[in-house]
Symmetry: C2
Subunit: 309 residues, 2 copies
Amino acid sequence: MTVNALFVGSGRDWDTYAPALIAAFARLPRHVVLKADHAPDTVDYIVMAGSHIIEDFSPFIRCKALLRLWAGVEDIVHNETITFPICRMVGGGLDQGMVEWVVAHVMRHHIGMDRHILGQDGIWRDGFVPPLAEDRPITILGLGALGTACARALSALGFPVTGWSRTTKDISGIRCLSGPVGDALTQAQGVILLLPKTPDTEHILNAETLAKTAKGAFVLNPGRGPLIDDDALLAALDSGHIAHATLDTFCTEPLPDSHPYWAHPSVTVTPHIASATRPRPAADVIANNLQRGEEGRPFLHTVDRTAGY
Amino acid sequence: MTVNALFVGSGRDWDTYAPALIAAFARLPRHVVLKADHAPDTVDYIVMAGSHIIEDFSPFIRCKALLRLWAGVEDIVHNETITFPICRMVGGGLDQGMVEWVVAHVMRHHIGMDRHILGQDGIWRDGFVPPLAEDRPITILGLGALGTACARALSALGFPVTGWSRTTKDISGIRCLSGPVGDALTQAQGVILLLPKTPDTEHILNAETLAKTAKGAFVLNPGRGPLIDDDALLAALDSGHIAHATLDTFCTEPLPDSHPYWAHPSVTVTPHIASATRPRPAADVIANNLQRGEEGRPFLHTVDRTAGY
Protein backbone atom coordinates (compact mmCIF):
# COMPACT_ATOMS: atom_id res chain seq x y z
CA MET A 1 0.00 0.00 0.00
CA THR A 2 1.39 3.36 -0.97
CA VAL A 3 1.47 6.43 1.22
CA ASN A 4 0.43 9.71 -0.39
CA ALA A 5 2.32 12.83 0.65
CA LEU A 6 1.00 16.14 -0.64
CA PHE A 7 3.59 18.86 -1.18
CA VAL A 8 2.21 22.34 -0.44
CA GLY A 9 4.38 25.24 -1.56
CA SER A 10 5.43 27.35 -4.49
CA GLY A 11 7.06 25.98 -7.62
CA ARG A 12 10.34 27.28 -6.31
CA ASP A 13 9.78 25.44 -3.02
CA TRP A 14 9.14 22.26 -5.00
CA ASP A 15 12.37 22.71 -6.93
CA THR A 16 14.29 23.32 -3.70
CA TYR A 17 12.86 20.60 -1.47
CA ALA A 18 11.22 17.90 -3.60
CA PRO A 19 14.40 16.14 -4.79
CA ALA A 20 15.66 15.76 -1.21
CA LEU A 21 12.24 14.65 0.05
CA ILE A 22 11.88 12.04 -2.72
CA ALA A 23 15.36 10.72 -1.93
CA ALA A 24 14.62 10.55 1.81
CA PHE A 25 11.24 8.84 1.27
CA ALA A 26 12.89 6.27 -1.01
CA ARG A 27 14.84 5.02 2.00
CA LEU A 28 11.65 4.24 3.97
CA PRO A 29 10.07 0.77 3.99
CA ARG A 30 6.71 2.05 2.63
CA HIS A 31 6.34 3.38 -0.91
CA VAL A 32 5.72 7.12 -0.44
CA VAL A 33 4.41 9.12 -3.42
CA LEU A 34 5.18 12.85 -3.16
CA LYS A 35 3.07 15.00 -5.44
CA ALA A 36 1.74 18.54 -5.47
CA ASP A 37 -1.70 17.43 -6.69
CA HIS A 38 -3.01 14.40 -4.79
CA ALA A 39 -6.78 14.53 -4.37
CA PRO A 40 -7.43 15.78 -0.81
CA ASP A 41 -9.30 12.66 0.32
CA THR A 42 -6.33 10.45 -0.69
CA VAL A 43 -3.69 12.42 1.24
CA ASP A 44 -1.95 10.68 4.16
CA TYR A 45 0.50 13.48 5.04
CA ILE A 46 0.85 17.14 4.12
CA VAL A 47 4.42 18.35 3.69
CA MET A 48 4.24 22.12 3.82
CA ALA A 49 6.62 24.91 2.90
CA GLY A 50 5.27 28.39 3.54
CA SER A 51 4.45 30.43 0.53
CA HIS A 52 1.21 28.71 -0.54
CA ILE A 53 -1.53 28.38 2.03
CA ILE A 54 -4.65 26.25 1.99
CA GLU A 55 -7.52 27.93 3.87
CA ASP A 56 -9.78 24.95 4.41
CA PHE A 57 -8.19 21.66 5.43
CA SER A 58 -11.49 19.82 6.07
CA PRO A 59 -11.34 17.84 2.77
CA PHE A 60 -8.17 16.10 4.04
CA ILE A 61 -10.25 13.47 5.78
CA ARG A 62 -7.55 10.81 6.23
CA CYS A 63 -4.51 13.06 6.76
CA LYS A 64 -2.41 11.90 9.73
CA ALA A 65 -0.17 14.97 10.16
CA LEU A 66 0.99 18.25 8.67
CA LEU A 67 4.79 18.19 8.51
CA ARG A 68 6.26 21.68 8.24
CA LEU A 69 9.50 22.32 6.35
CA TRP A 70 10.51 25.20 8.62
CA ALA A 71 10.41 26.28 12.21
CA GLY A 72 7.66 28.93 12.13
CA VAL A 73 4.00 27.91 12.23
CA GLU A 74 2.33 31.25 13.04
CA ASP A 75 0.43 31.23 9.72
CA ILE A 76 -1.31 27.88 10.30
CA VAL A 77 -1.36 27.19 14.04
CA HIS A 78 -4.70 28.94 14.57
CA ASN A 79 -6.48 27.35 11.57
CA GLU A 80 -9.33 25.40 13.17
CA THR A 81 -9.92 23.26 10.06
CA ILE A 82 -6.66 21.45 10.85
CA THR A 83 -7.76 18.57 13.04
CA PHE A 84 -4.54 16.53 12.79
CA PRO A 85 -1.15 17.17 14.46
CA ILE A 86 1.09 19.95 13.14
CA CYS A 87 4.83 19.19 13.38
CA ARG A 88 7.33 22.00 12.97
CA MET A 89 10.91 21.70 11.78
CA VAL A 90 13.49 21.21 14.51
CA GLY A 91 17.06 20.53 13.46
CA GLY A 92 17.07 20.32 9.70
CA GLY A 93 20.38 22.15 9.46
CA LEU A 94 19.23 25.35 11.17
CA ASP A 95 22.06 25.47 13.73
CA GLN A 96 24.85 24.41 11.38
CA GLY A 97 23.57 26.79 8.70
CA MET A 98 23.83 29.67 11.17
CA VAL A 99 27.39 28.71 12.11
CA GLU A 100 28.34 28.64 8.43
CA TRP A 101 26.78 32.04 7.67
CA VAL A 102 28.46 33.61 10.72
CA VAL A 103 31.90 32.07 10.04
CA ALA A 104 31.69 33.07 6.37
CA HIS A 105 30.87 36.71 7.08
CA VAL A 106 33.37 37.00 9.93
CA MET A 107 36.10 35.67 7.64
CA ARG A 108 35.00 38.01 4.83
CA HIS A 109 35.47 41.04 7.08
CA HIS A 110 38.50 39.60 8.82
CA ILE A 111 40.64 39.11 5.72
CA GLY A 112 39.24 42.17 3.94
CA MET A 113 37.90 40.12 1.06
CA ASP A 114 35.76 42.84 -0.51
CA ARG A 115 38.80 44.79 -1.67
CA HIS A 116 39.62 41.85 -3.94
CA ILE A 117 36.09 40.87 -4.97
CA LEU A 118 35.36 44.46 -5.97
CA GLY A 119 38.86 45.45 -7.12
CA GLN A 120 39.59 43.29 -10.18
CA ASP A 121 41.09 46.17 -12.13
CA GLY A 122 44.48 44.77 -13.07
CA ILE A 123 46.36 46.54 -10.28
CA TRP A 124 48.43 44.26 -8.04
CA ARG A 125 47.81 45.67 -4.55
CA ASP A 126 49.80 43.54 -2.15
CA GLY A 127 50.23 46.13 0.58
CA PHE A 128 47.35 45.18 2.83
CA VAL A 129 48.00 42.41 5.35
CA PRO A 130 45.16 41.67 7.79
CA PRO A 131 45.91 40.78 11.39
CA LEU A 132 45.69 37.12 12.36
CA ALA A 133 42.50 35.88 13.98
CA GLU A 134 44.30 35.77 17.34
CA ASP A 135 44.59 39.57 17.14
CA ARG A 136 40.92 40.14 16.26
CA PRO A 137 38.66 39.98 19.35
CA ILE A 138 35.06 39.05 18.57
CA THR A 139 32.07 39.54 20.87
CA ILE A 140 28.88 37.52 20.54
CA LEU A 141 25.77 38.86 22.25
CA GLY A 142 23.64 35.86 23.13
CA LEU A 143 24.88 32.44 24.20
CA GLY A 144 21.90 30.24 23.42
CA ALA A 145 22.32 27.20 21.18
CA LEU A 146 23.18 29.29 18.13
CA GLY A 147 25.47 31.79 19.90
CA THR A 148 27.34 29.01 21.67
CA ALA A 149 27.83 27.04 18.45
CA CYS A 150 29.16 30.15 16.68
CA ALA A 151 31.42 31.03 19.63
CA ARG A 152 32.97 27.56 19.54
CA ALA A 153 33.53 27.63 15.78
CA LEU A 154 35.19 31.07 15.85
CA SER A 155 37.32 30.15 18.84
CA ALA A 156 38.51 27.03 17.01
CA LEU A 157 39.63 29.27 14.14
CA GLY A 158 41.78 31.28 16.57
CA PHE A 159 39.63 34.32 17.37
CA PRO A 160 39.53 35.49 21.00
CA VAL A 161 35.79 35.23 21.67
CA THR A 162 33.80 37.04 24.35
CA GLY A 163 30.22 35.94 24.86
CA TRP A 164 27.58 37.93 26.69
CA SER A 165 24.32 36.60 28.03
CA ARG A 166 21.72 37.61 30.59
CA THR A 167 22.74 34.82 32.94
CA THR A 168 26.42 33.92 33.11
CA LYS A 169 27.40 30.85 31.09
CA ASP A 170 30.50 28.69 31.38
CA ILE A 171 31.84 27.63 27.97
CA SER A 172 35.35 26.28 27.61
CA GLY A 173 37.64 28.65 25.73
CA ILE A 174 35.09 31.49 25.67
CA ARG A 175 35.25 34.59 27.93
CA CYS A 176 31.68 34.57 29.23
CA LEU A 177 30.25 37.78 30.68
CA SER A 178 26.91 39.05 31.93
CA GLY A 179 26.05 42.38 33.46
CA PRO A 180 26.53 45.68 31.56
CA VAL A 181 26.68 44.81 27.86
CA GLY A 182 29.13 47.65 27.19
CA ASP A 183 31.81 45.79 29.16
CA ALA A 184 31.54 42.87 26.74
CA LEU A 185 31.87 45.17 23.72
CA THR A 186 34.98 47.05 24.87
CA GLN A 187 37.69 46.61 22.22
CA ALA A 188 35.59 44.20 20.15
CA GLN A 189 36.62 44.28 16.48
CA GLY A 190 33.57 42.26 15.51
CA VAL A 191 30.11 42.07 17.10
CA ILE A 192 27.61 39.30 16.37
CA LEU A 193 24.00 39.57 17.54
CA LEU A 194 22.32 36.29 18.41
CA LEU A 195 19.92 37.35 21.16
CA PRO A 196 16.19 36.69 21.22
CA LYS A 197 13.90 39.68 20.88
CA THR A 198 12.63 40.68 24.32
CA PRO A 199 11.87 44.07 25.92
CA ASP A 200 15.37 43.90 27.49
CA THR A 201 17.24 43.28 24.25
CA GLU A 202 15.50 45.83 22.04
CA HIS A 203 18.03 48.40 20.77
CA ILE A 204 20.80 46.70 22.76
CA LEU A 205 23.13 47.95 20.04
CA ASN A 206 22.68 51.72 20.29
CA ALA A 207 24.82 54.87 20.17
CA GLU A 208 26.26 54.23 23.64
CA THR A 209 27.09 50.54 23.19
CA LEU A 210 28.36 50.98 19.61
CA ALA A 211 30.83 53.55 20.95
CA LYS A 212 32.42 50.88 23.18
CA THR A 213 33.62 48.80 20.22
CA ALA A 214 37.04 49.22 18.61
CA LYS A 215 37.17 51.78 15.83
CA GLY A 216 36.67 49.99 12.52
CA ALA A 217 34.71 47.08 14.00
CA PHE A 218 32.20 45.14 11.95
CA VAL A 219 28.68 44.15 12.99
CA LEU A 220 26.76 41.00 11.99
CA ASN A 221 23.07 40.69 12.80
CA PRO A 222 21.67 37.26 12.04
CA GLY A 223 19.51 37.51 15.19
CA ARG A 224 16.54 39.87 15.23
CA GLY A 225 16.09 43.27 13.61
CA PRO A 226 14.96 45.21 16.71
CA LEU A 227 18.22 44.39 18.54
CA ILE A 228 19.72 47.35 16.64
CA ASP A 229 18.87 51.03 16.88
CA ASP A 230 19.04 51.53 13.12
CA ASP A 231 19.61 55.29 13.29
CA ALA A 232 22.53 54.82 15.70
CA LEU A 233 24.11 52.14 13.50
CA LEU A 234 23.77 54.30 10.38
CA ALA A 235 25.43 57.20 12.25
CA ALA A 236 28.29 54.93 13.40
CA LEU A 237 28.74 53.67 9.83
CA ASP A 238 28.76 57.24 8.48
CA SER A 239 31.39 58.30 11.01
CA GLY A 240 33.53 55.25 10.20
CA HIS A 241 33.54 54.02 13.79
CA ILE A 242 31.80 50.91 12.48
CA ALA A 243 33.50 49.87 9.24
CA HIS A 244 30.81 47.53 7.96
CA ALA A 245 27.56 45.83 8.91
CA THR A 246 26.12 42.67 7.41
CA LEU A 247 22.47 42.41 8.38
CA ASP A 248 20.21 39.41 7.87
CA THR A 249 17.24 40.44 10.03
CA PHE A 250 15.24 43.66 10.09
CA CYS A 251 12.35 45.31 11.92
CA THR A 252 10.35 45.03 8.68
CA GLU A 253 10.89 42.08 6.34
CA PRO A 254 11.34 42.04 3.42
CA LEU A 255 13.41 45.18 4.03
CA PRO A 256 11.68 47.95 1.98
CA ASP A 257 13.69 48.92 -1.09
CA SER A 258 13.75 52.53 0.12
CA HIS A 259 15.49 51.66 3.40
CA PRO A 260 18.90 53.37 3.73
CA TYR A 261 20.58 50.03 4.52
CA TRP A 262 20.19 48.94 0.89
CA ALA A 263 22.06 51.94 -0.49
CA HIS A 264 24.70 52.33 2.22
CA PRO A 265 28.14 51.42 0.86
CA SER A 266 29.17 49.88 4.19
CA VAL A 267 26.12 47.65 4.63
CA THR A 268 25.38 44.25 3.16
CA VAL A 269 21.75 43.17 3.38
CA THR A 270 21.07 39.44 3.28
CA PRO A 271 17.44 38.31 3.05
CA HIS A 272 16.91 36.44 6.36
CA ILE A 273 18.80 33.39 5.14
CA ALA A 274 21.32 32.85 7.92
CA SER A 275 19.40 29.98 9.43
CA ALA A 276 17.38 28.69 6.52
CA THR A 277 16.22 25.08 6.50
CA ARG A 278 18.46 22.97 4.29
CA PRO A 279 16.70 20.50 1.95
CA ARG A 280 18.64 17.34 2.71
CA PRO A 281 18.69 17.42 6.52
CA ALA A 282 15.14 18.84 6.58
CA ALA A 283 13.94 16.00 4.35
CA ASP A 284 15.47 13.51 6.77
CA VAL A 285 13.52 15.09 9.65
CA ILE A 286 10.28 14.93 7.62
CA ALA A 287 10.88 11.34 6.51
CA ASN A 288 11.65 10.27 10.07
CA ASN A 289 8.42 11.78 11.35
CA LEU A 290 6.37 10.24 8.53
CA GLN A 291 7.83 6.84 9.34
CA ARG A 292 6.92 7.30 13.02
CA GLY A 293 3.33 7.95 11.90
CA GLU A 294 3.29 4.78 9.81
CA GLU A 295 4.54 2.81 12.80
CA GLY A 296 1.86 4.32 15.03
CA ARG A 297 4.45 6.07 17.22
CA PRO A 298 3.96 9.64 18.47
CA PHE A 299 5.13 12.39 16.13
CA LEU A 300 8.15 14.53 17.08
CA HIS A 301 8.07 18.34 17.35
CA THR A 302 4.29 18.64 17.48
CA VAL A 303 2.95 22.13 17.96
CA ASP A 304 1.06 23.14 21.11
CA ARG A 305 -1.94 24.80 19.48
CA THR A 306 -2.77 26.77 22.65
CA ALA A 307 0.75 28.15 23.15
CA GLY A 308 0.97 28.85 19.44
CA TYR A 309 4.34 27.20 18.79
CA MET B 1 73.86 50.60 26.25
CA THR B 2 71.34 50.82 23.43
CA VAL B 3 71.04 48.42 20.52
CA ASN B 4 70.57 49.99 17.08
CA ALA B 5 68.26 48.17 14.67
CA LEU B 6 68.12 49.50 11.12
CA PHE B 7 64.81 49.04 9.31
CA VAL B 8 65.30 48.44 5.58
CA GLY B 9 62.17 48.59 3.47
CA SER B 10 59.71 50.92 1.79
CA GLY B 11 57.71 53.56 3.63
CA ARG B 12 54.73 51.25 3.36
CA ASP B 13 56.75 48.42 4.90
CA TRP B 14 57.65 50.77 7.77
CA ASP B 15 54.00 51.62 8.32
CA THR B 16 53.08 47.93 8.28
CA TYR B 17 55.83 46.47 10.43
CA ALA B 18 57.44 49.21 12.54
CA PRO B 19 54.70 49.53 15.19
CA ALA B 20 54.76 45.80 15.89
CA LEU B 21 58.58 45.69 15.92
CA ILE B 22 58.81 48.66 18.32
CA ALA B 23 56.25 46.99 20.61
CA ALA B 24 58.12 43.66 20.53
CA PHE B 25 61.52 45.30 21.14
CA ALA B 26 60.06 47.21 24.11
CA ARG B 27 59.56 43.88 25.86
CA LEU B 28 63.30 43.01 25.63
CA PRO B 29 65.73 43.75 28.48
CA ARG B 30 67.98 45.93 26.27
CA HIS B 31 66.84 49.30 24.89
CA VAL B 32 66.48 48.70 21.15
CA VAL B 33 66.19 51.75 18.86
CA LEU B 34 64.50 50.95 15.54
CA LYS B 35 65.10 53.57 12.86
CA ALA B 36 65.27 53.69 9.08
CA ASP B 37 68.33 55.96 9.11
CA HIS B 38 70.96 54.78 11.60
CA ALA B 39 74.49 55.51 10.34
CA PRO B 40 75.80 52.18 8.94
CA ASP B 41 78.74 51.95 11.35
CA THR B 42 76.36 52.23 14.35
CA VAL B 43 74.01 49.41 13.26
CA ASP B 44 73.82 46.27 15.41
CA TYR B 45 71.07 44.49 13.47
CA ILE B 46 69.43 44.94 10.08
CA VAL B 47 65.71 44.19 10.02
CA MET B 48 64.82 43.79 6.37
CA ALA B 49 61.58 43.74 4.43
CA GLY B 50 61.99 43.24 0.69
CA SER B 51 61.23 46.17 -1.49
CA HIS B 52 64.32 48.28 -0.83
CA ILE B 53 67.69 46.64 -1.33
CA ILE B 54 71.13 47.79 -0.26
CA GLU B 55 73.82 46.72 -2.74
CA ASP B 56 76.91 47.12 -0.57
CA PHE B 57 76.70 45.97 3.04
CA SER B 58 80.41 46.49 3.82
CA PRO B 59 79.83 49.76 5.77
CA PHE B 60 77.86 47.76 8.36
CA ILE B 61 81.05 46.96 10.25
CA ARG B 62 79.52 45.94 13.59
CA CYS B 63 76.26 44.35 12.37
CA LYS B 64 75.61 41.01 14.06
CA ALA B 65 72.83 39.68 11.81
CA LEU B 66 70.37 40.46 9.04
CA LEU B 67 66.90 39.50 10.25
CA ARG B 68 64.49 39.03 7.37
CA LEU B 69 60.79 39.85 7.74
CA TRP B 70 59.74 37.14 5.31
CA ALA B 71 60.59 33.66 4.20
CA GLY B 72 62.28 34.31 0.85
CA VAL B 73 65.95 35.38 0.70
CA GLU B 74 66.73 34.82 -2.99
CA ASP B 75 67.45 38.54 -3.52
CA ILE B 76 70.18 38.77 -0.85
CA VAL B 77 71.56 35.29 -0.25
CA HIS B 78 74.27 35.62 -2.91
CA ASN B 79 75.42 39.12 -1.91
CA GLU B 80 79.06 38.63 -0.89
CA THR B 81 79.26 41.93 0.98
CA ILE B 82 77.06 40.37 3.67
CA THR B 83 79.55 38.83 6.09
CA PHE B 84 77.14 38.32 8.99
CA PRO B 85 74.40 35.69 9.38
CA ILE B 86 71.15 36.03 7.42
CA CYS B 87 68.08 34.77 9.27
CA ARG B 88 64.86 34.17 7.33
CA MET B 89 61.33 34.29 8.69
CA VAL B 90 59.96 30.99 9.94
CA GLY B 91 56.59 31.02 11.65
CA GLY B 92 55.50 34.61 11.92
CA GLY B 93 51.88 33.75 11.15
CA LEU B 94 52.54 32.18 7.74
CA ASP B 95 50.69 28.92 8.44
CA GLN B 96 47.77 30.44 10.31
CA GLY B 97 47.43 33.17 7.69
CA MET B 98 47.10 30.53 4.99
CA VAL B 99 44.42 28.68 6.94
CA GLU B 100 42.47 31.92 7.35
CA TRP B 101 42.71 32.83 3.64
CA VAL B 102 41.61 29.32 2.61
CA VAL B 103 38.74 29.09 5.09
CA ALA B 104 37.55 32.58 4.13
CA HIS B 105 37.46 31.86 0.40
CA VAL B 106 35.95 28.39 0.83
CA MET B 107 33.17 29.90 2.95
CA ARG B 108 32.65 32.70 0.43
CA HIS B 109 32.02 30.20 -2.37
CA HIS B 110 30.20 27.77 -0.11
CA ILE B 111 27.46 30.16 1.04
CA GLY B 112 27.33 32.03 -2.29
CA MET B 113 28.28 35.33 -0.66
CA ASP B 114 28.98 37.21 -3.89
CA ARG B 115 25.33 37.30 -4.84
CA HIS B 116 24.73 39.46 -1.75
CA ILE B 117 27.93 41.54 -1.85
CA LEU B 118 27.26 42.41 -5.48
CA GLY B 119 23.45 42.45 -5.37
CA GLN B 120 22.50 45.31 -3.04
CA ASP B 121 19.73 46.54 -5.31
CA GLY B 122 16.76 46.57 -2.95
CA ILE B 123 15.38 43.23 -4.13
CA TRP B 124 14.81 40.65 -1.38
CA ARG B 125 16.00 37.39 -2.94
CA ASP B 126 15.52 34.68 -0.36
CA GLY B 127 15.18 31.75 -2.72
CA PHE B 128 18.74 30.50 -2.71
CA VAL B 129 19.72 28.12 0.09
CA PRO B 130 23.23 26.69 -0.09
CA PRO B 131 23.88 23.09 0.95
CA LEU B 132 25.43 22.52 4.35
CA ALA B 133 29.16 22.01 4.58
CA GLU B 134 28.55 18.29 5.17
CA ASP B 135 27.14 18.08 1.62
CA ARG B 136 30.06 19.94 -0.01
CA PRO B 137 33.08 17.64 -0.56
CA ILE B 138 36.39 19.50 -0.75
CA THR B 139 39.65 18.13 -2.12
CA ILE B 140 43.05 19.52 -1.13
CA LEU B 141 46.01 18.67 -3.35
CA GLY B 142 49.07 18.71 -1.12
CA LEU B 143 49.23 17.57 2.50
CA GLY B 144 52.33 19.36 3.72
CA ALA B 145 52.16 21.60 6.79
CA LEU B 146 49.86 24.10 5.06
CA GLY B 147 47.61 21.56 3.34
CA THR B 148 47.23 19.55 6.53
CA ALA B 149 46.37 22.63 8.59
CA CYS B 150 43.75 23.68 6.02
CA ALA B 151 42.32 20.16 5.84
CA ARG B 152 41.87 20.05 9.60
CA ALA B 153 40.23 23.50 9.74
CA LEU B 154 37.76 22.67 6.96
CA SER B 155 36.98 19.28 8.44
CA ALA B 156 36.25 20.94 11.79
CA LEU B 157 33.71 23.17 10.01
CA GLY B 158 31.91 20.09 8.71
CA PHE B 159 33.23 19.70 5.15
CA PRO B 160 34.06 16.17 3.97
CA VAL B 161 37.74 16.65 3.08
CA THR B 162 39.82 14.51 0.74
CA GLY B 163 43.57 15.13 0.73
CA TRP B 164 45.93 13.99 -1.97
CA SER B 165 49.71 13.75 -1.69
CA ARG B 166 52.54 11.98 -3.45
CA THR B 167 53.11 9.66 -0.51
CA THR B 168 50.07 8.53 1.45
CA LYS B 169 49.46 10.40 4.70
CA ASP B 170 47.34 9.40 7.67
CA ILE B 171 45.41 12.35 9.10
CA SER B 172 42.49 11.79 11.45
CA GLY B 173 39.17 12.76 9.87
CA ILE B 174 40.66 13.31 6.41
CA ARG B 175 40.28 10.88 3.49
CA CYS B 176 43.93 10.66 2.42
CA LEU B 177 44.74 9.44 -1.07
CA SER B 178 47.79 9.10 -3.27
CA GLY B 179 48.09 7.63 -6.76
CA PRO B 180 46.14 9.06 -9.72
CA VAL B 181 45.14 12.61 -8.83
CA GLY B 182 41.91 12.32 -10.80
CA ASP B 183 40.58 9.81 -8.25
CA ALA B 184 40.95 12.43 -5.52
CA LEU B 185 39.08 15.03 -7.58
CA THR B 186 36.06 12.90 -8.46
CA GLN B 187 32.93 14.69 -7.21
CA ALA B 188 34.91 17.45 -5.50
CA GLN B 189 32.84 20.66 -5.24
CA GLY B 190 35.92 22.62 -4.20
CA VAL B 191 39.59 22.10 -5.08
CA ILE B 192 42.45 23.72 -3.16
CA LEU B 193 46.00 23.63 -4.51
CA LEU B 194 48.74 23.54 -1.88
CA LEU B 195 51.44 21.54 -3.62
CA PRO B 196 55.04 22.58 -4.11
CA LYS B 197 56.16 23.34 -7.64
CA THR B 198 58.05 20.35 -9.01
CA PRO B 199 58.23 18.77 -12.47
CA ASP B 200 55.58 16.28 -11.30
CA THR B 201 53.11 18.90 -10.10
CA GLU B 202 53.29 21.30 -13.04
CA HIS B 203 49.86 21.58 -14.73
CA ILE B 204 48.42 19.01 -12.31
CA LEU B 205 45.12 20.84 -12.77
CA ASN B 206 44.54 20.44 -16.50
CA ALA B 207 41.66 19.68 -18.88
CA GLU B 208 41.58 16.03 -17.89
CA THR B 209 41.74 16.50 -14.11
CA LEU B 210 39.39 19.51 -14.11
CA ALA B 211 36.80 17.32 -15.86
CA LYS B 212 36.79 14.95 -12.86
CA THR B 213 35.41 17.59 -10.48
CA ALA B 214 31.70 18.11 -9.85
CA LYS B 215 30.00 20.54 -12.24
CA GLY B 216 29.99 23.98 -10.64
CA ALA B 217 33.04 23.35 -8.46
CA PHE B 218 35.28 26.18 -7.31
CA VAL B 219 39.08 26.27 -7.42
CA LEU B 220 41.42 28.02 -4.98
CA ASN B 221 45.13 28.32 -5.79
CA PRO B 222 47.16 29.74 -2.92
CA GLY B 223 49.99 27.33 -3.84
CA ARG B 224 52.03 27.97 -6.97
CA GLY B 225 50.98 29.38 -10.34
CA PRO B 226 52.38 26.59 -12.55
CA LEU B 227 50.20 23.97 -10.82
CA ILE B 228 47.41 25.11 -13.17
CA ASP B 229 47.20 24.85 -16.94
CA ASP B 230 45.77 28.35 -17.33
CA ASP B 231 44.22 27.71 -20.75
CA ALA B 232 42.43 24.61 -19.47
CA LEU B 233 41.10 26.48 -16.43
CA LEU B 234 39.86 29.38 -18.55
CA ALA B 235 38.08 26.90 -20.84
CA ALA B 236 36.46 25.16 -17.84
CA LEU B 237 35.33 28.54 -16.47
CA ASP B 238 33.90 29.53 -19.84
CA SER B 239 31.96 26.28 -20.11
CA GLY B 240 30.65 26.68 -16.57
CA HIS B 241 32.06 23.34 -15.43
CA ILE B 242 34.15 25.34 -12.95
CA ALA B 243 31.93 28.03 -11.41
CA HIS B 244 34.67 30.21 -9.97
CA ALA B 245 38.39 30.37 -9.32
CA THR B 246 40.17 32.47 -6.71
CA LEU B 247 43.85 32.59 -7.56
CA ASP B 248 46.63 33.97 -5.37
CA THR B 249 49.67 32.68 -7.26
CA PHE B 250 50.59 32.94 -10.93
CA CYS B 251 53.29 31.91 -13.36
CA THR B 252 54.23 35.60 -13.66
CA GLU B 253 53.86 37.91 -10.66
CA PRO B 254 52.62 40.56 -10.45
CA LEU B 255 50.02 39.17 -12.83
CA PRO B 256 50.17 41.38 -15.97
CA ASP B 257 47.16 43.66 -16.25
CA SER B 258 46.41 42.24 -19.70
CA HIS B 259 46.08 38.66 -18.40
CA PRO B 260 42.58 37.22 -19.03
CA TYR B 261 42.24 36.24 -15.36
CA TRP B 262 41.82 39.90 -14.36
CA ALA B 263 38.85 40.46 -16.66
CA HIS B 264 37.16 37.07 -16.29
CA PRO B 265 33.86 37.45 -14.39
CA SER B 266 34.35 34.09 -12.66
CA VAL B 267 37.90 34.71 -11.43
CA THR B 268 39.12 36.59 -8.37
CA VAL B 269 42.80 37.52 -8.44
CA THR B 270 44.47 38.10 -5.07
CA PRO B 271 48.04 39.44 -5.07
CA HIS B 272 50.03 36.57 -3.49
CA ILE B 273 48.81 37.42 0.00
CA ALA B 274 47.50 34.09 1.23
CA SER B 275 50.53 33.42 3.39
CA ALA B 276 51.88 36.90 4.04
CA THR B 277 53.96 37.52 7.13
CA ARG B 278 51.84 39.15 9.83
CA PRO B 279 53.43 42.09 11.66
CA ARG B 280 52.81 41.06 15.27
CA PRO B 281 53.90 37.41 15.18
CA ALA B 282 56.73 38.27 12.76
CA ALA B 283 57.95 40.98 15.12
CA ASP B 284 58.02 38.43 17.93
CA VAL B 285 60.22 36.12 15.81
CA ILE B 286 62.58 39.02 15.00
CA ALA B 287 62.75 40.20 18.62
CA ASN B 288 63.42 36.69 19.85
CA ASN B 289 66.31 36.28 17.42
CA LEU B 290 67.75 39.70 18.30
CA GLN B 291 67.65 38.79 21.98
CA ARG B 292 69.47 35.51 21.22
CA GLY B 293 72.19 37.58 19.55
CA GLU B 294 72.49 39.86 22.58
CA GLU B 295 72.85 36.81 24.82
CA GLY B 296 75.53 35.35 22.57
CA ARG B 297 73.36 32.36 21.67
CA PRO B 298 73.16 31.01 18.10
CA PHE B 299 70.58 32.64 15.83
CA LEU B 300 67.54 30.67 14.70
CA HIS B 301 66.58 30.12 11.03
CA THR B 302 69.99 31.08 9.61
CA VAL B 303 70.32 30.72 5.87
CA ASP B 304 72.70 28.19 4.33
CA ARG B 305 74.45 30.49 1.86
CA THR B 306 75.61 27.56 -0.29
CA ALA B 307 72.19 25.93 -0.56
CA GLY B 308 70.65 29.35 -1.14
CA TYR B 309 67.84 29.11 1.46
